[in-house]
Amino acid sequence: MTLLIQDKYPEKLFREDGKRLDGRDKDDLRNIKMEVGVIKNADGSAYIEWGNNKIFASVYGPREVHPHHLAKPDKGILRVFYRMTTYSVFDRKRPAPGRREKEISMIIADCLEPVLFLELYPGTSFEIFIEVVDADGGTRCASTTVAALALADAGVPMRSLVTSCAVGKIDGQLVTDLSGIEDKAGEADLPVAMTWFNDELSLLQFDGKVNKDEFNEFLEMAEEALGQVYQIQLDALKRKYQQIRDNVQEEGGDPEE
């Protein structure tokens, strides 16, 4: 049956003062917070808050593959399981994984594989579990970003981190990092991910309608945004160690020389 409050689309996605509904300028990202080492049992883990998105990722591996027949004799395999909790969306999601979750899992795995040295770990698997506990647009980008962070936290050798972000078009204007409502009511959405060892794009999906010029501008905006997210990612990864060092130094330990 229906819910008492409806999830309505707003008529306009810009306010009177030209800002977006959540008060951002066109090329502003939402607030992003990341942290590594949040799940003690995992080999590596990370947590991200990207606007209202809240996502956990954990990494296990390299370990023996179950079921065994999936193992490849010449290289390791990377498996990604992207899932959402039932309460992460407005209408309660069914508990079993849907087609959307399976597709995004595959997209993220394909996006991350180029940075790994899977050929060094034949017969094994790396597993990344991603759990979206609160969703508000752009979960595939946030998930890719947090998954790369969890891999690095596990000490898995990587060519570089991977960072992802979306750009889109709402009410005829090009904007960075669509929120949930902008994603639903907007005209176009372009999630991309960058692998930093070669500065190439490793995730690219596009839905909507834009002309040639707009598309070129999209790519410029994406590069700018990705750079900002990358810095937050690096900071989170190092902060885990820096914080302990700071504490030790406060107690008079860890001398400079």
């Binding site: 596990a154 000490g155 060092r245």
Partner: protein, 251 residues
């Protein structure tokens, strides 16, 4: 307490060639390829113009090589390593052991008999000797990238442990538990009166005569693991052990 067959490791974090700079995978370590060569934990970019890190670690420059000392990672089995293994499965011809690595290791009964030279016909080659769950100190006799490593119990200090407790820490931090020339482990042993054995796969076996001492030793081990990337660690742990002993009234 005498050295009971611990591995020799190099405690690189305390070394002056290791910088304090924490690096992440993909970060450029240097673009000066005339002065530096790429060492452990690094790769060259596609054009061969930059040396980049592949790990989260500390940057080290030693003999013109740029290295990255990992701060986190997993154990890869190597021939000759001593490991603490837990028997997890067995069939009539072999034991399967967990060694905290990506593959389980195999122990064959002929490698589980102590004095091979004196072996008699009546030495039975079956897998009755150990049970599932037994903790063994073993040596790796063969390991490669593709196959399960093989273990032996023939050698000094090797064999089953019948009591004590076994901890697992992050394998790259093992050199810190041992310390420079074994200084850290000597300190732990003498201050806690515990018998401690550390192996390269990140496992630590320890046993003391009192629960309070064992707990203190365990806490110290985890403190070392947590603060592994900071310098002056041995002094701090010494201080920690003295303070805690006083606080807990165990002397």
């Amino acid at each position: 307490m005498e050295n009971n067959g611990e591995v020799e490791t190099e405690d690189e974090i305390e070394d002056n060639s290791t910088t304090r700079e924490i690096v992440a995978p993909g970060e450029v370590l240097t673009t000066d390829l005339e002065a530096y060569k790429r060492g452990r934990g690094t790769i060259l970019n596609k054009d061969g113009t930059k040396i980049m890190s592949v790990l989260v670690g500390l940057k080290q420059i030693r003999n013109n090589y740029v290295n990255v000392i990992p701060l986190q990672g997993f154990y890869t089995a190597r021939t000759g390593d001593k490991v603490i293994a837990i028997v997890v499965d067995k069939n009539p011809v072999k034991y399967r052991c967990d060694i905290n690595a990506k593959y389980q290791a195999i122990l064959r009964p002929q490698n589980a008999i102590k004095h091979r030279k004196k072996r008699r016909r009546r030495d039975k080659l079956d897998t009755e000797k150990f049970d599932i769950g037994d903790v063994l100190i073993a040596k790796i006799i063969s390991a490669d990238r593709l196959n399960s490593p093989e273990l032996t119990l023939v050698g000094k200090y090797l064999g089953r442990k019948r009591d004590g407790i076994c901890l697992t820490i992050d394998p790259p931090k093992v050199p810190r538990i041992i310390g420079r020339n074994g200084s850290m482990i000597k300190l732990l042993k003498s201050e806690t009166n515990c018998n401690i054995f550390v192996t390269q796969n990140g496992r630590i076996w320890l046993k003391g005569d009192r629960f309070e001492y064992e707990r203190l030793a365990i806490e110290a081990v985890y403190k070392i693991e947590r603060e592994a990337h900071t310098r002056g660690l041995t002094d701090r742990i010494g201080e920690f052990l003295k303070q805690e002993k006083e606080k807990r009234g165990i002397n």
